[in-house]
Structure formats: structure tokens, C-alpha cells
């Protein structure tokens, strides 16, 4: 039993988190509080949603770097439309944002399937095209907290549980966890219980074999990229509600952090291998580091440094274990 646990990448991630928690708590006791935990959950919810999408893309043997542009497009347009039409309804917001997400995702999927472009190049291109289109055709007006429609503001401040701290201030678990959990469950269900999910793993594992087995590669790819678009749409609404100040130039540039979290979680960049638990742990590590290095007295400038170290350690562990396995069987595949 212990043997099997030690073989799993997720075990090492758990250990890293626990070790970190112990170190930080010994320096600053306020790390181990519900308040901090709720805070981390709220900050990490958006990244968690996007990470599920990146996981699916990587599993299929591809990659998508355009999701931030899709997310901000969805979110920003939803805000502007609601401001313009006065339909102050959260579900309308999600509907608008997710529809935009699916459409943009489909564009990615079509480019990748029909032009057979490498996924990195294609989505790098669409990242810029979507972003450019947003700023050119929709505008660059920022929307600040006063102008923000109330559905977003309420969503951003709503809590599931509310507690009172020792100092008497109120804090609570943000409702952001609801879309996060919903996305996780949906992704888990698709990957584990549907042929669609198996097809994605097959495609990432061995594309030619998947073709020969009769899988419809085009349909699979269209699904993968639309799904990411959909998730980006969800995250877009979460993001604008969280930040309460939205401008089309934000969020872009954070793609690599999300991808880093997924990779830390043990997902192979070559495809076919990766787990939801691992991805969530990866997101947890990155979010915790970003949020709590201040507890150690380190400024935000140290965030990237530590995330970088964790990436290297995490990939290093997997890579090392792989090499030992190969060396034993004299297979020189590095």
C-alpha cells in the first residue's frame, strides 16, 4: 500500500504542501486559520477552473494558451452587455460569457483540425487575435466598482458560510467554490465515465492508434477546445466579479502560471497522462505560494521565484523516477 502511494506523483505534492504549511505556521500562526483557507480558495477558484481546461487540452496531446483571452473576452463583454441592456442577472452573465467562450473555443478547434496546425502555434496566434479583436472592436474602457452591475458585485461578495473572527470581523467561504466544484465534477465525469473522455486520453496517448481505432479525431478536438472555451467563459465571470474592476488588458499574460500549475500536478506535456487530483494540487501549491509568502515576510516579488523552484522540483522528481525505470530495462529513451 505504501509502495503504491510512493509511486504516485500526487503523494509528493501533498508532502510539499504539508511541509510548506508546517514551515509557515511556525513563523506565523495566522496561516492555519479558516480565514486564510477561505482566502486561498477564493483566489484559487479562477485558476482552478482554467486549469481543468488546460488539463483536458494537455491530455489530448495538445495545448491551449489562448484561454486567458477567451476568459477576459467573455467576462468583459458580459459586463458591457449587461450594463447596456440592464438585464442584471447572473445567469445571463454566465450565458453570455460561456457562449462567447464556446464560440472562440470552436474557432481554435476548427483551426487546429482543418489546418492541422500545431496546437501551440495555433492558440498562440488566436491568443493575440482574440485579444486584439476585443480591444479593437469592443473597446478598452475599464469598468470600475461603481459602474459594475450588481449581479457581479453580489456574486463577488456572496458567501456560503460566514464566520466571525477573533477580532470581530466577518469572513466567509466565497460562493466561487460552487462553479469551481461544478467544473471539477463535470470534468471528472467526462474524463472518467464517457467515451469522449477515453477518446481524449487515447488521442493524447497515441494519435495514430486513436485514428486506427475508429475515434473521430476531429470531433474530439472540436470538443476539447470548445470545452476549454466554455470553462474560460465561466472563469471570465468569476474573474470580473472577484476583481470588480475590469479592463480588457488584464488577465492576459497569466497563461503560463496556469499551465505551470497543471504541469506541477504531474500532467505530461506530451499527452495522455494526467489526473484531476494532481492538477488541483498543482493549483493549490501555486495559489498558496502566491498568497502566503507574505506570511513569511517575503514580498510579492518572491512569488515567481518559488513557483519556479517548485516547477523544477516537481518535474525533476517525475523525470528522475522515469529515468531510473528506463535505465533498469536498458531502454535508452532518456
Amino acid at each position: 500500500m505504501l509502495d503504491k502511494l510512493l509511486k504516485k506523483h500526487e503523494t509528493y505534492l501533498f508532502l510539499i504542501i504539508i511541509a510548506y504549511a508546517v514551515v509557515v505556521t511556525s513563523v506565523n500562526r495566522s496561516f492555519m486559520t479558516f480565514e486564510n483557507l477561505f482566502d486561498i480558495l477564493r483566489s484559487g477558484a479562477g485558476m482552478g477552473i482554467l486549469a481543468m481546461g488546460v488539463l483536458v487540452a494537455l491530455l489530448s496531446g495538445g495545448i491551449d494558451v489562448s484561454f486567458t483571452a477567451v476568459a477576459i473576452s467573455g467576462g468583459y463583454i458580459a459586463v458591457r452587455v449587461i450594463m447596456a441592456t440592464g438585464v442584471d442577472n447572473l445567469f445571463a452573465a454566465f450565458a453570455i460569457s460561456c457562449s462567447i467562450g464556446i464560440v472562440l473555443g470552436l474557432i481554435n478547434g476548427l483551426i487546429i483540425s482543418y489546418f492541422k496546425l500545431p496546437t501551440l502555434i495555433a492558440t498562440l496566434g488566436t491568443l493575440n487575435v482574440f485579444h486584439g479583436a476585443l480591444t479593437t472592436f469592443v473597446g478598452t474602457e475599464s469598468v470600475n466598482a461603481r459602474q459594475m452591475p450588481s449581479c457581479f458585485v453580489n456574486f463577488g461578495s456572496a458567501k456560503i458560510i460566514t464566520l466571525v473572527s477573533e477580532q470581530g470581523s466577518k469572513y466567509g467561504l466565497s460562493v466561487f467554490v460552487i462553479p469551481l466544484v461544478a467544473v471539477i465534477v463535470l470534468t471528472w465525469f467526462i474524463l472518467r465515465f464517457t467515451m469522449l473522455g477515453r477518446g481524449i486520453y487515447a488521442l493524447g496517448s497515441n494519435r495514430e492508434s486513436a485514428k486506427r481505432a475508429g475515434f473521430n479525431i476531429t470531433a474530439l478536438q472540436l470538443f476539447v477546445y470548445s470545452y476549454i472555451g466554455f470553462l474560460a467563459g465561466v472563469m471570465g465571470v468569476v474573474f470580473v466579479s472577484e476583481v470588480r474592476w475590469v479592463n480588457p488588458v488584464t488577465l492576459i499574460g497569466t497563461e503560463l502560471t496556469v499551465i505551470a500549475a497543471v504541469v506541477i500536478g504531474g500532467t505530461k506535456l506530451t499527452g495522455g497522462s494526467g489526473t484531476i487530483l494532481g492538477t488541483l494540487l498543482g493549483v493549490a501549491i501555486v495559489t498558496i505560494l502566491y498568497n502566503t509568502l507574505v506570511f513569511l515576510g517575503l514580498s510579492a516579488a518572491w512569488n515567481n521565484f518559488f513557483v519556479g523552484i517548485i516547477i523544477i522540483i516537481s518535474i525533476g522528481i517525475t523525470s528522475y523516477r522515469n529515468r531510473i525505470k528506463n535505465r533498469k530495462s536498458l531502454s535508452f529513451k532518456t
Binding site: 465515465f193 464517457t194 467515451m195 469522449l196 473522455g197 477515453r198 477518446g199 486520453y201 487515447a202 493524447g204 496517448s205 497515441n206 495514430e208 492508434s209 486513436a210 485514428k211 486506427r212 481505432a213 475508429g214 475515434f215 495522455g272 497522462s273 536498458l330 535508452f332 529513451k333
Partner: protein, 503 residues
């Protein structure tokens, strides 16, 4: 005949400028065992892919079960009962055995949701049907080659297959496993399932098949009854030429001459143990044995890639430690690997670059920069001497035929002027004409004084090209044989018998 399951009628297929298939006809009847042979480049893979519906044909028809198809799709072919097991097995390495076995069935049944229980049950049931024990939860990438082959075959059988096409299925199997495979194919026949077996190993082709279809340069030379064929006639149909075999004559060692290579009690568990051998100048020493006997592991140790635990390596009377390939190369050893694609060639680099990569330090000019003149001289020299067929020096290595790729590898190592050349499976997957030319090359090198070790599965090859043959079993040297005083059959028996009892 009306119980022909598959009829390929006048099928042609071209790729840009190249006719892969020209007016090919083939008939496969139900419950028959058919073999497809042909040199590399003859069109075998293209024909298989056409039958499987993976590539479209330019003209002609494919008639399966009486139904005519001009545009066959993979899913149609699968539904009609044609299952292809490609040489790379087309498995999903990151998925489990159970998933690999059941997935195709689920795709074919257009299922939307999967039940893990069901997949496991299907897998176990199919494995039991064939009588194989495998853990269905294991990831395929962790399985041995033979077990992967079994998974591929079991997968093919879950589909109510009527025709199973196997592309070079025996390359990585032991003799025992090959026998099991053949009895499986006979069982299939008794159940009305046809097998189309593509192979380079002519002895196997003649042993298992009822009919042999021969392709040459994209055209079907003929579909022969196996009983009308023997090896020479088959080779003649495949190449259009007669190939002559001659035994290698060793000059004999000069008196008092120390061995070029001497191994004393070399051991590396669990690969091999207590290896003692000597190799003299001008000898071609053959090492043969079943899969897993330790031959390649021993060769890797001589090249610094598998450091031995104990024992000694002496080269030309001097003790050597082999920690890395650099040590071996400096000591005058060259090694031609089993897998030339992933371990020998730089596939995307030009042929020229592949040829000089081992002697970069020797083609520098006074400024320690690579001299164009010396570089071209070396490249051209080896292309000429080895008769490498290529349009230019800049052609990427991956576009050459197997035989020519092997020549490039020979060139690359000969450029280092080795004293000892270890060849691991030097003619695997190479067409017959090139094979015999490479054998000539090896003999010429030996006559020039090089000590050569040939590691091979093919009894025929070691028999006609070595003056001494060592048989390895379970990591030890079990016997030494002189081809001038034995027959091929005796050697085959020696290799295959288990613990003194002929299998």
C-alpha cells in the same frame, strides 16, 4: 471462389510521383492462412492500410464479404471484420490492458458512457478465452514486448474479426512465444477466421502459411501455394534475382598473436554471467540465442553502456574499463545498435552529417573550425565506398530505405577506424539484396583485419557469415559451434532446446 472474404480488385495508389500500388489483385478466402511478402518499399504497408481503410485508394475496388467499396473508411473495415495489428501495435501506452482491449469495441458500438466493470470483464473474458494470464490493470507501457503483442492480438479478436492482418508480429518474440502465436493462428483458422501475415522471415512464412502473395515494386508478382515454394524460389519472386550464399572462410590466426578482444569472467546480473571469450583479428564471431539470452546486454557492456559488475575486458593485450561509449570508441570499438532509428541515426539530419558525426575532431582545419573540404571528402568517400544510394548528401537520413540507412551507420563507424566492430542485428528489416551486400561488406572488413562480432537471431545469417558461433542461453555461453563442422539444423536445435530437451 465464392467464399472469398476479401477481394482486392485492380487497386492502385500513388503518392506524389511514386506508385505505391499498381493494379494489385488479391483474394483471401475464409479460414485461410495467407502471407504477404515483399522487400521494403514493395508496397506491403500501403496495401495493408488500403485494406484497413486508413488510406484512400486511387482506383480499383475492395470487396469485403460481397460488399463493394471504392471509398473504404476505417470504421467500415472494422465493422466488416477486418482487424489490423500494425508493427507498432497501435496500443495506448498510457492506458491499462483492460482499456486497450475493450476500447475499440466500445467505439464501434458507439457507446457514450463507459463502465469500468464492463471493460474489465470484457478484458478478462477475452484473455481467458485465449488462455493468457495478464493483469488487466497494468499500464501497457510497463509490459514486455511479447505481452504487448498479446494485448494487441486479444484486442483484435474481441471484434468478431473475420480477417486478422498481422504486420511483422514475430520480431520481438521468443521461439516459444512464436509457437504459441502460430497455434493461435491455427485455432483462428478452425473458427473460420482468416489471417494475413506479413513477414520478412521467410522460414516462418513457409512454415505457417497456405498461400503466399508476393509484392515487388508495387505490383503483385503472384499469389502462390506455399507447397509450391521454397526459400530460393521465394527470394527469386521477391527480388527477381538469384542470391548465392557462401560460407565465410577465416584466414586463421598468426601464431603467438594475442586476441584482439578478450573477456574474462565478465558478469552483470541479471543480464549475463561468467562470460569468457576471445576474438582474433580477421574473425567474424557470431553470437546467437533466444530473446533474453543476454546478447545485446553483453554488447552494450562492451560499448560502455551497461557497466559490468565484475570480470575483465582486455583489448589488444591491454586492460580496459568501459564506463561510457567514449572509452569504447577510444579503445577502437564500434557498435551498430539493434534499433537504428532511435539509437543510431540522426533521422532529421542529412546523410552527410550522419556520416561524419563520429570524426568531427578529425576534419578541423588550422583554425579548429570544420573544414568544408575535409568534410566533403569524408562524406563522399563513404557514400562511394559503401554505395549508399541517395540523390544528394543533404537528403535527410529518414528518407532512405532500410538498407541504405544501415550503410550510413556502417560508414559513420568505419570512419573511426575501429579494430573491433560489434554488429547487433545488422540486417534486421532490410531487403534481401541489401542484406547480401552488407554480408559481403562484413566479410571484406574481416579480411582486412578487423575483428567482428555479429549478434543475430537469424541462424541463416550467422551460419553463412561467421567462422565461429557462440550460443547464449540465460546469460551464459552455452555452446561454441564451427559452421564448417555443423549443419544449420543442428545449430537451430542447439539454440531452441530447453535444458537438454528439444522443444
Amino acid at each position: 471462389m465464392n467464399d472469398d472474404f476479401l477481394i482486392v480488385d485492380n487497386v492502385s495508389k500513388s503518392y506524389v510521383g511514386v506508385h505505391a500500388l499498381k493494379n494489385v489483385d488479391l483474394k483471401i478466402s475464409s479460414g485461410s492462412i495467407h502471407c504477404l511478402v515483399g522487400e521494403n518499399g514493395s508496397g506491403k504497408s500501403t496495401l495493408i492500410k488500403a485494406i484497413a481503410g486508413v488510406i484512400p485508394i486511387d482506383s480499383g475496388e475492395i470487396i469485403i464479404n460481397g460488399k463493394t467499396y471504392t471509398h473504404l473508411h476505417a470504421i467500415d473495415s472494422i465493422r466488416e471484420g477486418i482487424q489490423v495489428i500494425y508493427q507498432d501495435l497501435s496500443l495506448f501506452p498510457n492506458l491499462t490492458v483492460a482499456e486497450n482491449i475493450s476500447l475499440i469495441q466500445m467505439v464501434e458500438e458507439r457507446k457514450k458512457f463507459i463502465s469500468w466493470n464492463e471493460m474489465e470483464q470484457i478484458a478478462r473474458r477475452e484473455l481467458d478465452r485465449i488462455g493468457i494470464r495478464l493483469k488487466v490493470d497494468d499500464l501497457v507501457e510497463d509490459l514486455s514486448m511479447a505481452n504487448r503483442q498479446i494485448v494487441a492480438i486479444v484486442r483484435a479478436l474481441t471484434q468478431d474479426a473475420r480477417l486478422i492482418v498481422m504486420d511483422e508480429p514475430t520480431t520481438a518474440l521468443t521461439k516459444g512465444e512464436i509457437d504459441s502465436l502460430f497455434s493461435l493462428i491455427s485455432d483462428l483458422k478452425n473458427n473460420g477466421i482468416s489471417t494475413l501475415f506479413v513477414s520478412h522471415k521467410l522460414s516462418e512464412v513457409l512454415a505457417i502459411s497456405e498461400k503466399v502473395a508476393v509484392l515487388r515494386d508495387g505490383m503483385m508478382v503472384g499469389d502462390f501455394e506455399t507447397s509450391d515454394l521454397d526459400t530460393n524460389r521465394l527470394v527469386f519472386h521477391m527480388t527477381g534475382k538469384e542470391i548465392v550464399h557462401s560460407i565465410f572462410q577465416y584466414q586463421g590466426k598468426k601464431s603467438g598473436e594475442p586476441p584482439l578482444l578478450e573477456l574474462k569472467d565478465l558478469t552483470k546480473k541479471p543480464n549475463y554471467s561468467d562470460i569468457n571469450l576471445s576474438l582474433f583479428r580477421g574473425e567474424i564471431l557470431g553470437i546467437t540465442g533466444l530473446l533474453g539470452s543476454g546478447r545485446t546486454e553483453l554488447a552494450l557492456s562492451l560499448f560502455g553502456l551497461n557497466r559490468p559488475e565484475s570480470g575483465q575486458i582486455w583489448i589488444d593485450g591491454r586492460f580496459q574499463t568501459m564506463r561510457r561509449p567514449g572509452d569504447a570508441i577510444r579503445a577502437g570499438i564500434s557498435y551498430l545498435p539493434e534499433d537504428r532509428h532511435s539509437q543510431g541515426l540522426f533521422l532529421q539530419q542529412s546523410i552527410g552529417n550522419n556520416l561524419i558525426v563520429t570524426i568531427l575532431s578529425r576534419i578541423l582545419n588550422k583554425l579548429r573550425v570544420i573544414s568544408e573540404k575535409k568534410k566533403l571528402e569524408s562524406m563522399n568517400r563513404y557514400v562511394r565506398e559503401l554505395r549508399i544510394k541517395t540523390p544528394t548528401l543533404d537528403t535527410p537520413a529518414e528518407s532512405l530505405s532500410g538498407g541504405n540507412q544501415q550503410r550510413v551507420l556502417f560508414g559513420k563507424w568505419l570512419a573511426t577506424d575501429p579494430k573491433i566492430f560489434i554488429l547487433d542485428g545488422p540486417t534486421v528489416g532490410i531487403d534481401i539484396a541489401s542484406k547480401s551486400e552488407i554480408h559481403q561488406l562484413i566479410k571484406k572488413l574481416a579480411q582486412g583485419g578487423m575483428g567482428i562480432i555479429v549478434i543475430s537471431d537469424e541462424i541463416n545469417e550467422v551460419f553463412h557469415n561467421c567462422n565461429r558461433i557462440l550460443v547464449m542461453k540465460n546469460g551464459r555461453i552455452a555452446a561454441e559451434v564451427d559452421p564448417q563442422h555443423t549443419t544449420e539444423q543442428e545449430l537451430t536445435d542447439l539454440v531452441e532446446k530447453k535444458n537438454g530437451v528439444a522443444s
